[in-house]
Symmetry: C2
Subunit: 191 residues, 2 copies
C-alpha cells in the first residue's frame, strides 16, 4: 500500500481546514483521518493527541491573524489603521471560524508556548496601531484591552449567529469601528 506522505504540518493544515468546514466542536480524529485518506491511528505518528492537534491549529490561527492584521495596517496610521486592521481580523474570523474557535479554546502553557508568542504578536499589532492616537500612557493598556474586547466580542457573536435581527451586520461593524475611533481620538486630544 502506498504512503499518504503526511507530516505534522500537513495534519495540522488538514485539521485547520476541517474545523473551518464542520466546526471546532465537531473535530474528531476519525473524520480528519478520513479526509486525509488514512486510518485513525496513523495520525498519531504525527501528532501526540487530539489536544495537541487542537493546540497546533490554534497556533496556526494566531499566526495567520497576526499576518492578516500586519498586512492590512501596513503603511497606515490612526483611524485608517484601526479600520483596516479591524476589517482584516473580522474577515479572517468569518473565513476561518473553526480556527478562531480553536484559538479561543486553547490555553497557553507557559511563557514560551508558541501560542503565547503568537498571541503577544497580535497584541503588539494593536498596540502599534493605538500608538497613532497619542493616548495618555496610563490609559493605553485600557484602550488596548477595549479594542481587543470589541473585536473579539463582535467576531464571536457574529460567527455564532448572535446577531439575529435583520439589520445589516456590515453596517453595524463600520458603525462600531467609527464609534471606537471617535472615542480614541477624543482620548488623544484630551491627552
Amino acid at each position: 500500500m502506498p504512503r499518504a506522505g503526511l507530516t505534522p504540518a500537513a495534519v495540522t493544515e488538514g485539521g485547520a481546514a476541517l474545523v473551518d468546514e464542520v466546526g471546532f466542536a465537531q473535530l474528531s480524529m476519525g473524520l480528519l483521518a478520513e479526509r486525509l485518506g488514512v486510518k485513525t491511528p496513523s495520525l498519531y505518528k504525527h501528532v501526540a493527541s487530539q489536544a495537541e492537534l487542537a493546540h497546533r491549529i490554534a497556533v496556526q490561527a494566531m499566526t495567520e491573524v497576526t499576518a492578516a492584521i500586519r498586512d492590512a495596517t501596513q503603511g497606515r496610521a490612526g483611524s485608517e489603521a484601526l479600520a483596516a486592521g479591524a476589517q482584516a481580523m473580522r474577515r479572517y474570523v468569518k473565513e476561518h471560524p473553526g480556527r478562531y474557535a480553536a484559538a479561543n479554546a486553547a490555553r497557553a502553557a507557559g511563557e514560551d508556548d508558541p501560542l503565547a508568542v503568537a498571541g503577544d504578536q497580535v497584541l503588539a499589532s494593536w498596540a502599534a496601531m493605538l500608538h497613532g492616537y497619542r493616548i495618555d500612557p496610563d490609559q493605553e493598556i485600557h484602550a488596548l484591552r477595549l479594542v481587543r474586547t470589541v473585536l473579539h466580542g463582535f467576531a464571536t457573536l457574529e460567527v455564532s449567529g448572535g446577531f439575529q435581527i435583520a439589520v445589516d451586520v456590515d453596517a453595524t461593524f463600520t458603525w462600531t469601528i467609527d464609534f471606537l475611533d471617535r472615542g480614541l481620538r477624543a482620548l488623544g486630544e484630551a491627552h
Copy 2:
C-alpha cells in the same frame, strides 16, 4: 433502595452548579450522576440527553442574567443604568462561568425556544437602558449591538484568562464602561 427524588429541574440545577465548578467542557453525565448520588442511566429519566441538559442549563443562565440585569438597573437611567447593568452582568459571569459558557455554546431552535425568549429579554433590558440616552432611532440597533459586543467580549476574555498583563482588570472595566458612556452620550446630544 431509597429514591433520590430527582426532577428535571433538580438535574438541571445540579448540572448548572457542576459546570460552574469544573467548567462547561468537563460536563459529563457520569460526573453529574455521582454528584447527585445516582447512577448514570438514571439521569435519562429526567433529561433526554446531555445536549438537552446543556440546553436547559443555558436557558437557566439566560434567565438568571436577565434577572440580575433587571434588578441592577431598576430605578436607574442613562449612565447609572449602564454602569449598574454592566457590573451586574460581569459579576454574574464571574460567579457562574460554566453557565455562561453553556449559554454561549447553545443555539436556539426556533422562535419559541425558551432560550431565544430568554435571550430576547436580555436584549430588551439593554434596549430599555439605552433608551435613556435618546439616541437617533436609526442608530439604536447599532448601539445595542455595541453594548452587547463589549460586555460579551469582556466577560468571555476575562473568564478565559485573556487579560494576562498585571494591570487591574476592574479598573479596565470601569474605564471601558466610561468610554462607552461618553460615546453614547455624545450620540444622544448630536441626535
